[in-house]
Symmetry: C2
Subunit: 146 residues, 2 copies
């Protein structure tokens, strides 16, 4: 609830409007414990607000991402998913079983400093995705000899 109030203030102070559509979509992302793709957001929003269109969902997600209230990430080939902007974190996704692990941003902070020093680029990706194999899915390929 307090998060919603905070978002309301932020929007007001930046000259944007607080609309029920935006509040519904923010609420959905806050209550989700994981990332959602636009269609999932749309489906959940239908319950709270049957008239809401998919175009508005796409536009609102992009808008909230621009405002830094929501983080967008790519998972798999082309799928964009969204998540409420909380603690900065990144994803390790197993490309075999799809299991997703969150890692703290602090693990990448040193890398970002290295980028800054060696290239001048100030990186601010807060939601980077890395693909690989989780421990379970490495096993069949490596340990089946014995």
């Amino acid at each position: 609830m307090s998060e919603n109030l905070q978002c309301t203030d932020t929007l007001h102070s930046r000259g944007f409007r607080v609309t029920p559509q935006r509040m519904v979509i923010l609420r959905i992302l806050q209550e989700a414990d994981t990332h959602l793709n636009p269609t999932e957001v749309y489906q959940r929003a239908q319950h709270a607000m049957p008239g809401l269109t998919e175009a508005t969902v796409y536009r609102t997600l992009a808008f909230l991402t621009d405002q830094g209230m929501v983080l967008a990430a790519h998972i798999g080939s082309g799928q964009l998913v969204y998540e409420i902007a909380g603690h900065a974190h990144h994803h390790l996704i197993c490309r075999a079983c799809g299991y997703t692990l969150e890692i703290e941003h602090e693990l990448l902070a040193e890398l970002y400093r290295l980028f800054k020093v060696s290239t001048g680029y100030q990186i601010d990706s807060l939601h980077t995705t890395f693909f690989g194999l989780c421990p379970e899915c490495q096993a069949p390929e490596l340990n089946n000899v014995a």
Copy 2:
């Protein structure tokens, strides 16, 4: 040319067919000095092979990516681009001007080792994209005081 022969052998040895469509698309990616999106690949392919369809371009790019001959990367919101698989590298993209810098994989190797130790995940992303601000685009926001 020798790269094409190598790809031919690889496809044969894995039981896949060597088709003119695949060769054309591989050639285009080899001759491009940068990454291309599917539409750009399609347009260039039209010259060499007018009958080629866009569906085949999408399918072939996904296929070549699966085979490890081509690398796919996300740039911007939802755009997937492709690049011939050569040296492993990653991208730093300026979200203000869009300028893209390549960085060697070696810079991320230590991070991957850290992932492996702390989570067990064996990361193999060879084409990760980081967003931020390039040195020129940082200037107006930071240095305009004096």
